[in-house]
Amino acid sequence: MSRPRKIRVDLKLIADLVAPGSRVLDIGCADGTLIDHLYREKGCDARGIELDMQEVQRAVAHGMPVMQGDADTELVTYPDGAFDYVILSRTLQAVEKPREVLAQMLRIGTHAIVSFPNFGHWTLRLQLLLNGRMPMTAGWNRMWYETPNIHPCTISDFFALCDKDGYIVEDWLAADEEGARTPWRRSRKLANLFGEQGLFLLRKA
């Protein structure tokens, strides 16, 4: 069994939103770092789904309950309210049907925690304005024809979707690429301009 590992700052921010002892499903859990952290540090019953079979094997070989599967197709197999938190970290923009995935997350869990790269960040806006080409940054570093990020959105877009589908934003914050908190927390417009990632805690109305 692995010893507690130091986790990435953005995963730590997510973990901070999870109540101790809760039931958690981490979608796109990679090698299970967050699951391991939630189990060890917060006594959670945490499980994962991961698309990449090598990551799944790594996670299971470290004793973590992870199944190979696709967020777009596997979430429908879980019963209503099976989890307290369903987490989707830096993956929403890569799924086939983000709106449907979000709806499934809030069907099978009472809370959804979602993080995504903010396409409204000023460097992206500026590049598009000046070059007229799809922006390339540290976070958006693949050409448009080969990027897995097929559904980019901005922090403002995400607020709008939550309004439209009736989700309550219990907490949110903008963070930089490393996941450190940014000071534009209280202004949506500033967050949308300066935040590299959006992190949301949602529940159903």
Partner: protein, 380 residues
């Protein structure tokens, strides 16, 4: 034709339960003998026991030289000191299945009507669940109320699933490997070829061949040859044999012209020395009858409702007998009831047989899963 000498009768370690066993078919076996082997030491709390379930033609000699064939234990890659199922840490039990021919009650056991004859084809049709009930008697006899884990591949995986549904409280962790929740039409079809081959053998004598002093070797060998093809992938067969010729001279329709033919014939002839044809009929039929969802109004998830067992499902990418889709269907059914489930497909080109072979990805996965479960179970 000449009969191969059968291996001499071996005395197998066993325990007999005089209360007998009520079977799914409605019959009651008056007394049940379960032949078994154990490895490692049961701890004082009796909390470190792992039951290994064997496949169709397997036996209880999972981690030691088989006393009949002289071959190594069939899962020595997996079970032993320092292995993924570590016998330094766990108390490992493996029993010959009910209906088998390695010491447990089966068609070769004496018929209780005192005729002195074996049961033969009169042996009641047992099910996978009946096999598990017999194993439960054995596990109870050790004073073990909860198995730390039940692990098995192929038909052994079916038994793991049956354990998890019949005795959910008695199974902390379940590892069904390369298996399915029901036997598919294709699988039943292959079994039927084998059964028909046995029945068509002139030495079968309606199942009473023991009385005639012969055995339906040709039929059983053909059954084994057919089954063997289903255990390997096309890629593996091609790699091993391709179109290599065994005997280049002459062109005969029958005989071992190609290397793959002589390989299959060897598989067939070595099998008949160690396996009883009536057991083969009984056990293949038990597999065919297996359908967990059918026992729960067609809803597989209902078989696992409320389960607290931690599951690890493993499939192999080139296994066409128990394909990955079957394991995934079980994983999804477990999701339906919010069970704790891990699911891994191991990349291998060795077909169904991969579960018995040297597959480090599988072995590392199992080792880690068991370690994680041991932590949750409070096993140091």
């Amino acid at each position: 034709m000449d009969q191969n000498p059968a291996f001499p009768e071996t005395q197998h370690q066993s325990v007999t339960f005089s209360q007998g066993l009520a079977l799914d078919c409605g019959q009651h076996l008056p007394a049940v003998t379960v032949a078994y082997r154990t490895y490692g030491t049961l701890n004082a709390e009796k909390s470190n026991a792992i039951l290994i379930c064997h496949a169709l033609t397997g036996d209880q000699y999972v981690a030691e030289r088989n006393p009949e064939t002289g071959k190594p234990g069939w899962w020595e890659y997996l079970v032993g000191p320092g292995k993924p199922v570590d016998t330094h840490k766990y108390f490992v039990i493996c029993a010959n299945v009910l209906g088998g021919c390695m010491g447990s009650t089966g068609p070769r056991s004496p018929h209780p009507n005192d005729s002195g004859q074996p049961w033969g084809t009169d042996f009641p049709q047992v099910t996978i669940q009946d096999m598990v009930r017999a194993q439960k008697l054995l596990v109870d006899s050790f004073g073990i109320t909860r198995l730390f884990a039940v692990v098995g591949g192929s038909m052994g995986g079916m038994q793991v699933l049956a354990w998890a549904t019949l005795y959910p409280e008695a199974v902390f962790a379940a590892v069904p490997v390369a298996t399915a929740s029901y036997h598919s039409a294709q699988n039943i079809a292959f079994h039927e070829i084998g059964r028909q081959a046995i029945a068509a053998d002139p030495f079968f004598y309606g199942g009473r061949y023991w009385g005639e002093g012969v055995r339906p070797e040709r039929g059983l060998a053909v059954a084994r040859m057919t089954a063997h093809i289903t255990y390997v992938s096309e890629v593996a067969l091609t790699r091993k044999f391709g179109r290599k010729l065994q005997h280049a001279e002459g062109l005969s329709a029958l005989g071992d012209q190609f290397a793959v033919e002589s390989y299959l014939q060897y598989q067939g002839s070595s099998f008949v020395q160690r396996f009883d044809a009536n057991s083969y009929l009984t056990i293949t039929r038990a597999m065919d009858l297996f359908d967990l969802a059918a026992d729960h109004h067609g809803v597989l998830g209902d078989a696992f409702k409320g389960t607290k067992t931690r599951f690890l499902l493993v499939s192999f990418s080139s296994d066409w007998l128990f394909p990955t889709a079957q394991s995934r269907a079980i994983a999804r059914a477990l999701n339906h009831v919010a069970a704790n489930v891990s699911f891994v497909e191991v990349q291998s080109d060795k077909g169904h047989d991969a579960f018995l072979l040297d597959e480090p990805d599988f072995h590392n996965t199992l080792r880690g899963f068991l370690a994680g479960c041991a932590e949750h179970a409070g096993l140091a």
